[in-house]
Symmetry: C2
Subunit: 485 residues, 2 copies
C-alpha cells in the first residue's frame, strides 16, 4: 500500500520512464502481495485460470453450433477442466467445436501441472516459504537432509533443488507418460475403425484425460465400446494409477530404477496404501455387484474381476466408468464414495484427502492401540504434527462434503444418495457420476462448481500453508517427514 | 491354566473342603482372567447381561399375549435396552406384559449405570489399571494430581477415590435426577387424564427413558400428544441433556454449585461443545424443515423453534421424535446423522464418538492452522496422545457405520438413505428412526444388533484399554488431561 520509494524522487517527465516506473511499481505490488499471502496468491492465480477458461468456453468459436454457451455451463466445465474433475453438465463429446476440444485438452494439462505445481511453486518462489516445493524436494529423495530431525530450515530449502528444474521435470514426465499411453491407445483406436488423424487426436485425449485423472471422453460413445477390452482398460487404468501416485513418487521410482537409491517412507506409504485400497475396492465391488444383472452381473464371468478392478482403480480419481452407476447396488455406491473421498497421492493429479492422510490416521490408531509413543511406518518415526495436518485435511474434506450435499438436497432437490455421491465425486475431483450432473438445475451447477473448487484449492493451499508450521525442539529417533493432504 | 498351588498340597478327603477349594479355584481363575484381559472381562459381563435380558424377553411371562417372543426380536430388544439405544422391532408399548415393561425399565437402568461404570470399574478394580475409573476420578475434580503433567501413576490411582463410593454416587445421582424428572412429568400425565397409578409408572418410565438416553416410550400414543407441549418437551430434553453430559460433568457441576471449586477443562469442553452442537443443530433443522409441510412447516410458527430445538437435543442420543423423520428433508437427515454420530459426553448415557472427541479434532486443526505446537483449550495444553485416541475412536466409529450400512443395503435390501441413518442411529445408540426398524427383515435385525453392540462396547472398552497407554517423558507447560471416546 505504501508508495514505492522511487516515486518520491523527482524525475524528468519522460513517458518511457513513467511507463517503466508504473510497471515496476505494479510488479513490486504483486511481489509484495505474493510475499505476504502466498496461499492467497496461489488461489488468485488458480481462480483466474478458471475464469479465463470460462470466458473461452463461452465464446461462440468454442461450441460446435457456434452459439454462446450459458455462463453456468461454461463455468462448470471450466472448473471441472482445471480441477481435473471430469463432471459435465453438457455432452463433452458433441457440445464443443474442434477449438473447444483443444481448450479442454489444454485445460487438463494446465490443471494437472499448473495447479499442482505451478501455483504452489510460484508462491514458494516469491516467498521462500516451504510449501509444496519443500515437500516435492523432501519426498523426491534429492533432499540430503531427509533423514534429519526437524523441518528443513528456510535457508537450506532455498538452496535445495532448482525450481525451474522441478517444473520442467514435471512437464517432461507428463508429456513422456501421456505420449507413451497415447502410442499404446492409438493402434487400438485404428483397429476399432477410427481414421488415422482422429485416432491420433483421440488417443492423446484419452491418454491426457487418464493421466491427469480428469475422466473426460473424446467421443460420444465414450468408454462403452471398450467396456470389456483388456488392452484399453489396462492402458487407461495404468495411466490413472501413475497420475494418482503423485510426481514425487514417480520421480523417486524413476530414480530407483536408475540408481537403486533408497526409497522414502512417503513413496512406500503411498504405494502400499494405493495398492491396498485398489485390492480392497476391487474385492468389495466384485462381491457387491457380482449378482447385479444391471452392472457386472450381466458380464461374462471372466470379465467381472477386470471390471471390478477397473472401477476400483477409477475411484482414485480417474472417473471413467464402464458400468452404469445409476443401477449399482447402493452398498457399492457407499463403498465407492469412501474410496473416492480418500482419493490419490499427495502432489498428484488425483483429489480427495489423499491416501497418505488415511494411512496416517490408521497408523496413529495402531500406535495408540499398541501403546507406543510414536507413529511409525517402515522403520521410521513420523512426527506428530503430520497427524494434526491429516486431521485438519480430513475435517476440511468432511465439512465441504457435508455442506455441499446438504445444499444440493435442500436447494437443488437432489435425492440423498445422489447428492452425497456427486458431492464426494466433486470434492475429490473424481468425476464418477450417477448421471445426475447431466440434468442438474442451475443452482446445482453452482453448488458443485464451488465444491470442486474448494476440494482442489482448499487441500492444496491448506497443505502449502500448514506444511511449515512445525517448530519442534526435540531430537529423538531419526525422523522422516512424509506428505499428507 | 496352571493348577492352583493349593491343590498340589495333599489334603484329607472332605466334601466341604473340596467344594471350598473348587469355588476358590474358580474364583482365582476368574480373577486371573480379569487381571490379564480386563477389557475382555468387561465385554463378557456386558454380553452376558444382554443374553440374560434376551432370555427374559423370550419368556411367555414377558409378552402381553403370553407367547414366546422370537429370538431375533428378543435379542434386538435386549441389545437396544442394555445399550440404551431405543430402536425397536416390536411395538414396545403393546408387545410386553407388565413384567416385560418392568424388565425394560430395569434394563435401561442397568444399561445406564451398569454398563458405563460397573463393567469398566470392575475391570479397573481387578486389574488396578487406569480405565474409566481414572477418567472419572480425574475429571470429577477429586483428583489432586489433576493439573500435573503426565498420567496418574498406578499406585496413586489406586489410592484415589473410593470405587464403591463412585458407583454409589452414580446410582444415587441417577435415582435423584430420574425422580425429580418423574415428579415434574407425573402432574402433566394426570392432567392429560391418566389414572394416578398409570401416571406414576409412566412418569418414571418417561424420566428413566429420557435420562438414560434410551428413548423408549411407555404408551402406544408415544410422544405425539405432547408434540407441542412446552412443559413435557422441556422436562424430557433437560433429562436427555443431563444424561448426555456424563457423570463426571454432573459431579463437577454439583460440586461447583456447593463449593465453587475450579471447573476442569473436560467439563468446560463438554458443556461448550454440547451447547454449540445444540444451537447449530436447532438452527439447521429450523431452516431446513421450516418450509416442509410434512414436519415443522405444519406447526404454528411459535412452536417451530421449540420443535427444532427438541429434535436437535435428541440427536445427542435421546431418540424421542416429535416429527415423522420419514417425511423430513433429506438435507435435515444428513445434518441429524452428523449430529448423532458425534453423540454426547464421555462416560455418559449417550453414545456416538463423543463431543470431546469432535472438539479435540477441531482444536487440533485450529492449532495446526495457527502453527502452534500444542493443542490448547481454556488456557491448558492437551497432550498429543489424546488426539490419537480421538482419531482412533472416530475411525472405529466410521468403520462400524460403513460396514453396517453396506451390510444393511446389500443383505437386507435397505435403501441408501435409510440404511445410513439407521446404522448411525444404532452405532450412536440414538434410536431415532426413519421407521425402517419396524419392518426390518430378520438379517437386518441381526446387523443392527451387532452395530448397537459394537457402538456401545467398542467405544467403552477402547477408551478403557487405550486410556493408560501414554508414556510421556516431557515436562513442559502445566498439562491437563481431558476425556475423549
Ligand atoms: K477426475
Ligand atoms: K437412545
Amino acid at each position: 500500500m505504501r508508495t514505492p520509494r522511487a516515486s518520491s524522487i523527482p524525475a524528468p517527465v519522460d513517458t518511457d520512464g513513467l511507463l517503466r516506473r508504473i510497471v515496476s511499481a505494479v510488479g513490486r505490488k504483486i511481489d509484495d502481495f505474493a510475499h505476504h499471502t502466498p496461499s492467497r496468491f496461489a488461489v488468485i492465480i488458480f481462480t483466474s485460470i478458471i475464469l479465463l477458461w470460462t470466458t473461452i468456453y463461452m465464446l461462440p468459436i468454442s461450441s460446435a453450433d457456434g452459439t454462446v454457451t450459458p455462463f453456468h455451463e461454461a463455468l462448470f466445465t471450466a472448473v471441472s477442466t482445471i480441477c481435473v474433475t471430469g463432471l459435465s453438465v453438457v455432452d463433452m463429446a458433441t457440445h464443443w467445436s474442434g477449438f473447444g476440444h483443444f481448450m479442454v485438452f489444454l485445460g487438463m494439462q494446465v490443471g494437472a501441472i499448473g495447479v499442482l505445481t505451478l501455483a504452489s511453486i510460484m508462491g514458494a518462489i516469491v516467498t521462500r516459504r516451504l510449501g509444496l516445493r519443500q515437500k516435492l524436494v523432501a519426498a523426491s529423495d534429492s533432499n540430503a537432509l531427509r533423514t534429519h530431525a526437524g523441518p528443513v530450515s528456510e535457508s537450506q530449502a532455498v538452496k535445495l533443488g532448482d525450481i525451474g528444474g522441478i517444473l520442467a521435470t514435471v512437464a517432461i514426465s507428463l508429456v513422456i507418460i501421456e505420449t507413451c499411453v497415447a502410442l499404446l491407445i492409438i493402434p487400438r483406436l485404428l483397429i476399432a475403425g477410427e481414421p488415422l488423424w482422429d485416432a491420433i487426436l483421440d488417443g492423446f485425449f484419452w491418454a491426457t484425460s487418464a493421466f491427469t485423472n480428469t475422466g473426460f471422453m473424446p467421443t460420444s460413445t465414450g468408454i462403452e465400446p471398450f467396456a470389456t477390452d483388456a488392452w484399453m482398460l489396462t492402458c487407461l487404468a495404468t495411466a490413472v494409477f501413475l497420475g494418482s501416485l503423485g510426481f514425487p513418487v514417480i520421480f523417486a521410482l524413476t530414480r530407483w530404477v536408475k540408481t537403486r537409491q533408497r526409497i522414502s517412507v512417503h513413496v512406500k506409504l503411498t504405494l502400499s496404501t494405493t495398492v491396498l485400497l485398489f485390492v480392497l475396492g476391487a474385492i468389495a465391488i466384485y462381491f457387491l455387484e457380482g449378482d447385479n444383472p444391471a452392472t457386472i452381473g450381466a458380464q461374462e464371468p471372466v470379465f467381472r474381476p477386470m471390471t471390478a478392478g477397473f472401477m476400483s482403480a477409477m475411484t482414485r480419481s480417474g472417473g471413467f466408468s464402464t458400468i452404469d452407476l445409476a443401477n449399482a447396488d447402493p452398498a457399492t455406491m457407499l463403498a465407492m464414495q469412501m474410496l473416492m473421498f480418500v482419493g490419490g497421492g499427495s502432489a498428484s493429479t488425483a483429489g480427495g484427502i489423499k491416501v497418505t492422510t488415511l494411512a496416517i490416521l490408521f497408523l496413529a490408531a495402531f500406535a495408540e492401540a499398541k501403546g507406543v509413543n510414536d507413529i511409525q511406518a517402515f522403520g521410521r518415526r513420523i512426527p506428530n504434527d503430520v497427524l494434526r495436518l491429516a486431521v485438519s485435511v480430513t475435517l476440511w474434506g468432511a465439512t465441504i462434503v457435508a455442506v455441499s450435499s446438504i445444499s444440493l438436497m435442500h436447494f437443488a432437490s437432489v435425492p440423498f444418495d445422489e447428492a452425497l455421491f456427486e458431492a464426494i465425486s466433486a470434492f475429490a475431483t473424481c468425476g464418477l457420476s450417477t448421471g445426475l450432473t447431466g440434468d442438474l438445475p442451475e443452482q446445482g451447477a453452482y453448488i458443485l462448481s464451488i465444491t470442486m473448487w474448494l476440494g482442489r484449492v482448499g487441500t492444496v493451499t491448506m497443505a502449502a500453508a500448514l506444511a511449515s508450521s512445525e517448530h519442534k525442539q526435540l531430537f529423538r529417533l531419526p525422523e522422516e517427514r512424509i506428505i499428507v493432504g
